[in-house]
Subunit: 350 residues, 2 copies
């Protein structure tokens, strides 16, 4: 429960440091000073590649794999199907549609900046992007494939074999499920959205207008920042949905107990990872249930369920305006040209 | 039946002009001379854009629309789903999977170089790409949408409205289904694959090896060229599948009567558009039924069903090797960044 108590401590810090308490209209520099205690800017892909020493070959292989429909049993679902780089890194439907038109249990989280999340999935059941990449490939409601069939598929394609060898030159048998996941993680590490208006503000620019600035100030002073902080403005700790007041069943379906299914600890019932809010304006609908289509409504629900506060219309508007400033420069991805199947490639299965 | 008689005339021309009749191994220059009577090279997108006076704004709009999943009722199917620019312009499964995981009746034809087809679809029911683009959007087994809902969707997105206005500045109400189709056609007009080994050969280079050259020579002398000629090596006239001998029911399903459903003329039963063979090595499975996975097998079937000839193994291999030289430079497409939905955007429907 360590993470939960952080909420109150952080909220206290935000309240004491808030520029909004000092005057009617917040002063940019004071808000910036407080904001810098909670948030860090999204770096450029170039700096991340250098810092993490990610090879160009693994990124290139990952780009192929990210768009590769033959990772799925049907040959029509790729990572990009539910995490499209053209639509904020998600599919923006209530819950994802997978093999056989089955509906998944939860709303698809964005792949953009996902590298900076403390853990992956709404319940944090994967420690990192490499671990995450293995899940949907095998999930029966998603790609419905098996590691052995994926390996058989990739080994049947000479162009893939050559690229795996280039990306993993020390491996004797480089075409394997682990390296597939590693390469997808390498590519996804480049799907970053730097230089948002908010990041420009953190860096010292006057990039926020008065309402956006007020929204940021409220975001910190009201306590949203307790769960939504760090580089991704969320995506780190786990918190019960409904700290103060449980939302209705359509937003918090009773049969999805969240992190409880990972930890089997009673206190983790209806506990979810705090959503990362970067590019949140691009990825309605909201929450794990994907039932809320309006960002303003989502902000209001968070106020009542998590903070026990009925935010007034002006506050909701200002916070929503601030959230729009979290939209960064979207990645420009060239669609990969994938190698044709061979006689040895497993056929698609309906 | 005008088109059918062309088959025999063209075959005669091919036979009389064939270099293979003159000597054992065909001489490159003689084969080239004959080939130039039947085929033209794929031009570059730049030259097509200039020649057809296609505006940059309509191409850009078309790029967005081609990848736009909100053209479909479910919000998860775009043009690129079944005509992926990364996999030869098709989906490479037996028959396409659409709304509700329904299976379409025919194999998805490639979008690459489709501009140069005499008509679109296996039965030629659309005169051009603009007409074609309207079909799948409305087909219940594909995107399952309606023109009015598409227009409502596009009008709800300010970035689209602005781009439609730029692309169609003379229109009072530019955001409409017709312009959507026009813009998709404009973008698809750039999805060309110039500079294949075959096109280099046509231009005078020694780009074909001995077997590929023999294959091309056989392709002309055996009569394949009667139906598969022109810039797309096919895609022009209509011909009965099984001129000489009907293939089995799995390859020619009895309930798909082809062009008959368009013309309602008895002689058009089991008549289909000759498949364009550009990039054919990238787009197995083959034929409208998508039941044949091997290009060699497809060549052999064509020999027996259309030409009444049992091609020997060496002939099949050589023709197949020639067909591989029809693979051109694939288009490099940057994935578009699509605007987020608004409160006015119709929601996805399962």
């Amino acid at each position: 429960m360590k993470k939960h108590t952080t909420l109150l401590l952080a909220a206290g810090l935000a309240l004491s440091g808030s520029a909004a308490l000092a005057a009617g209209a917040p002063a940019a520099d004071a808000v910036r000073e407080t904001a810098r205690q909670f948030f860090q800017p999204i770096p450029t892909p170039e700096s991340v590649i250098k810092e993490r020493n990610i090879s160009a070959d693994s990124i290139e292989l990952g780009r192929w794999l990210f768009f590769e429909p033959r990772l799925s049993r049907s040959h029509i679902i790729s990572c990009n199907t539910c995490h499209s780089v053209g639509t904020g890194g998600a599919d923006n439907i209530q819950t994802s549609i997978g093999h056989g038109w089955q509906h998944g249990p939860r709303n698809s989280p964005t792949v953009l900046n996902a590298l900076f999340n403390g853990a992956q999935f709404w319940d944090g059941r994967a420690a990192d992007l490499k671990e995450q990449a293995k899940g949907p490939v095998q999930a029966s409601v998603e790609m419905n494939n098996t590691p052995s069939q994926v390996e058989e598929t990739l080994k049947s394609l000479p162009e893939y074999v050559a690229l795996f060898q280039k990306a993993y030159p020390k491996d004797k048998d480089p075409v394997n499920f682990e390296n597939m996941a590693h390469a997808i993680e390498a590519f996804e590490s480049t799907l970053l959205t730097p230089n948002s208006k908010f990041d420009q503000f953190l860096a010292g620019a006057d990039s926020l207008d008065e309402i956006e600035l007020k929204g940021l100030d409220l975001f910190m002073s009201k306590g949203c920042v307790a769960c939504h902080q760090g580089i991704n403005v969320g995506g780190q700790g786990y918190f019960p949905f409904g700290v103060v007041k449980k939302p209705g069943a359509e937003i918090l379906p009773p049969d999805d107990k969240g992190r409880f299914t990972v930890t089997h600890t009673a206190s983790d019932e209806y506990v979810f990872r705090a959503g990362p809010l970067r590019n949140i304006a691009l990825t309605a609908p909201y929450f794990h249930s994907g039932d809320v289509w309006s960002l303003e409504q989502a902000v209001a629900i968070m106020g009542s369920s998590q903070l026990g506060q009925e935010l007034n219309e002006g506050e909701v508007k200002a916070i929503t305006r601030f959230l729009h400033t979290l939209t960064g420069e979207q990645p420009q991805v060239v669609y990969p040209i994938l190698p044709p199947s061979t006689a040895a490639t497993p056929r698609p299965q309906k």
